[in-house]
């Protein structure tokens, strides 16, 4: 009986196997692009988050750095913390510079899987007050979680702050928010609940979840920037706690996007070097190059990523300046993510956020 079963099933399985192989081969690998360099100046692999952000970093940092130093720069994506940590653990480090969030910088520094970055040639006072370099990481640019909305859905008053975002009576309709804890959702909830900017940290996590729960049925959670754009483009949500760079992208596709900078929650990314990186010296040079005022301004020609240094933040390129979060007047109404607090609490709070989402 068993033989007959096998006899009948085997060809079927073979057919499926062939189909699967075809599908598997059709799938694309992580995109990687080589960013020039004929002069012999070593090699460098930069790993970052993909999308328009990666294109921006390639054009603003990687290609010019390759031209100047002669290094052959390869840009890959996406950043994967598990991969990064495993690489160092197994001694097979193929990345030289990685774009990460600051609490990863601090965790990796403490646990010893990131290199200390030599910052003797990087002026430490050049950075914005809320974006300080740390021993293992240098801030390379800011992003923001801001309130964006569909202007045609609100003919009278428009949402001005997080309290409005949470007011489903005055502003009915679904709103999108990220399914990832830091930074953004909890800060937004507490500000909406009346906590002042100055007393925001340490975050009252329980209070934040209580506030979030009040509008839970009107919340749509997005897991990627693409998804947030899709929700806004299709009119699935009337409002969004979204990343400015994504709303810029949406607007450049011809979608009308309303916005307020008030109470925008600013976060930033660091460039770090994995422990045992093969081209650590070139990596250090690259980081210095990337945070120079010229490179930082050049980045804003391509994507509205906020420069991390004061000089560059004051003069973003015309192409994106309507959406750059770190201009002086926008910083005045902004909230800066407290990464010291998040480093201490990320694991617990991120887990709690996931558990709240599942409940």
């Amino acid at each position: 009986m068993r033989r007959r079963f096998v006899g009948r099933v085997a060809p079927a399985l073979a057919l499926v196997a062939v189909a699967t192989v075809v599908v598997a081969c059709g799938g694309s690998d992580a995109p990687s692009e080589s960013a020039s360099g004929e002069k012999s100046g070593g090699a460098l692999t930069l790993t970052t988050w993909g999308g328009a952000y990666q294109i921006g970093q390639t054009k603003a940092f990687a290609t010019p750095f390759g031209d100047e130093s002669g290094a052959k720069v390869t840009v890959t994506s996406p950043t994967d913390y598990a991969k990064l940590k495993s690489m160092v653990k197994t001694g097979n480090v193929v990345w030289d510079v990685v774009d990460v969030e600051p609490f990863i910088t601090r965790q990796g520094c403490e646990e010893g899987w990131l290199e200390k970055v030599d910052q003797t040639n990087i002026p430490q006072d050049a950075f914005l007050a809320s974006m300080k370099p740390s021993p293992c990481g240098v801030p390379n640019g800011a992003y923001t979680t801001m309130i964006a909305f569909q202007p045609d859905k609100f003919t009278g008053a428009e949402p001005q702050n997080w309290a409005d975002f949470f007011d489903t009576k005055r502003f009915p309709g679904k709103r999108a928010i990220q399914n990832y804890a830091a930074p953004g959702p909890l800060e937004a909830a507490l500000l909406a609940d009346g906590v002042s900017k100055e007393q925001l940290y340490p975050l009252d996590v329980d209070r934040a979840f209580r506030k979030l729960s009040t509008i839970r049925k009107d919340l749509v959670f997005y897991g990627s920037g693409d998804q947030s754009e899709q929700l806004m483009r299709s009119g699935e949500v009337v409002m969004c706690a979204c990343w400015a760079s994504r709303m810029f992208d949406l607007e450049s596709q011809g979608v009308d996007v309303g916005r307020t900078w008030n109470e925008q929650v600013i976060g930033y990314d660091d460039f770090v070097i994995p422990k045992g990186a093969k081209n650590a010296a070139t990596a250090t040079e690259f980081i210095k190059f990337a945070v120079s005022p010229e490179s930082q301004v050049r980045m804003t020609q391509f994507v509205p990523w906020g420069p991390s240094t004061t000089e560059a933040a004051a003069k973003p390129a015309d192409a994106t300046k309507e959406w750059v979060p770190t201009t002086p007047e926008r910083l005045k109404v902004a909230i800066s993510t407290d990464y010291d607090w998040w480093t201490e609490n990320f694991d617990d709070v991120a887990s709690a956020y996931q558990q709240w989402l599942l409940k």
Binding site: R4, L13, V16, V22, G26, N179, F221, Q227, Q230, S234
Partner: protein, 296 residues
């Protein structure tokens, strides 16, 4: 591993748990490269994962205690199996008549039907899932059409619900049900049904007593593939389901790549693996692949 590699060509003396009952011939040796390959690319990493689950961050069963001690993880495990079972059922209900249709139409139509099943397989999973988003969302094609026709006042909750997950996963996995069923049905001699009719069986009886038992191997094979595949689904439930529809694999990814808790993530993977193997072993025992007249 050693037992598979060290197959002597002296014949049937070597018996590993009755596996090599017959004479080991040259053809059997063809199995060695794929098995060795699997040991390296699947076996070894899997063992690493299992090892991590009891050594990170400290040695012991702490991670497993955490998995079974946390309500949402147990819920996610149950939900994962329930969703997979429902998807398997849906695939069987849709795939069985489809595969049958493939066996009764002419060659030209059969080619069309095979093509229709295979084309989605050649499209990226992500694109197919996004396509479902466009169809199922509140402002999507289905809801806007129904609203315009005046059949509903409020959009139906299709996306970000269990329904969305089931629809999306079933469509993605349907080929894995149809293909084994079709391969099975193609081999069934149509004269069996005629014989049953000759002997006085009505069509329904003939189907139930003759055709259905004959197709059981295909159905079992299809169901097993779909079920096991479904257990590891990640992208489709993430995009079409709500946060409460998360499957265990989503939580594993979260533990590993966001919280860097390799130990807990590995323990979840270990639990999923063991429960799956147990379930498959039990199913394989109870759902005996029988054929033809020996069905009862």
């Amino acid at each position: 591993v050693a037992s598979e590699v060290a197959i002597p060509d002296t014949g049937p003396r070597l018996r590993v748990g009755g596996l090599w009952r017959g004479r080991v011939n040259g053809w059997t040796l063809l199995l060695v490269p794929p098995l060795a390959y699997l040991c390296v690319v699947v076996g070894y990493p899997l063992l690493t994962v299992l090892q991590q689950s009891v050594t990170e961050p400290t040695t012991g069963l702490g991670n497993y205690e955490k998995v079974f001690g946390t309500g949402i993880y147990v819920d996610a495990l149950i939900r994962t199996f329930r969703t997979s079972a429902l998807v398997t059922g849906l695939c069987l209900v849709c795939g069985y008549p489809y595969a049958y249709l493939m066996t009764v139409v002419g060659p030209a139509w059969r080619r069309v039907l095979i093509f229709v099943v295979l084309v989605p397989l050649w499209t990226s999973l992500l694109i197919r899932t996004y396509a479902w988003t466009v169809l199922l969302q509140d402002t999507g094609l289905i809801n806007t059409t129904l609203l315009k026709l005046g059949l509903i006042d409020q959009p139906l909750h299709l996306i970000r619900t269990q329904i969305g997950v089931l629809i999306g996963m079933s469509q993605v996995l349907l080929p894995f049900m149809v293909l084994p069923l079709y391969a099975n049905m193609r081999g069934i001699d149509p004269s069996f049904m005629k014989a049953a009719a000759n002997l006085g069986a009505r069509p329904a009886t003939a189907f139930r007593r003759v055709y259905l038992p004959l197709t059981r191997p295909g159905a079992v094979a299809g169901a097993l593939i779909v079920f096991i595949y479904a257990l590891g689904f990640y992208i489709t439930p993430a995009l079409l389901g709500g946060p409460r529809d998360a499957m265990l694999s989503q939580l594993i990814v979260l533990q590993v790549s966001q919280l860097l808790d390799f130990g807990l993530g590995s323990a979840m993977a270990g639990v999923l693996l063991v429960v799956t193997l147990l379930l498959v072993a039990i199913l394989a025992r109870f759902v005996r692949p029988t054929t033809g007249t020996a069905a009862r």
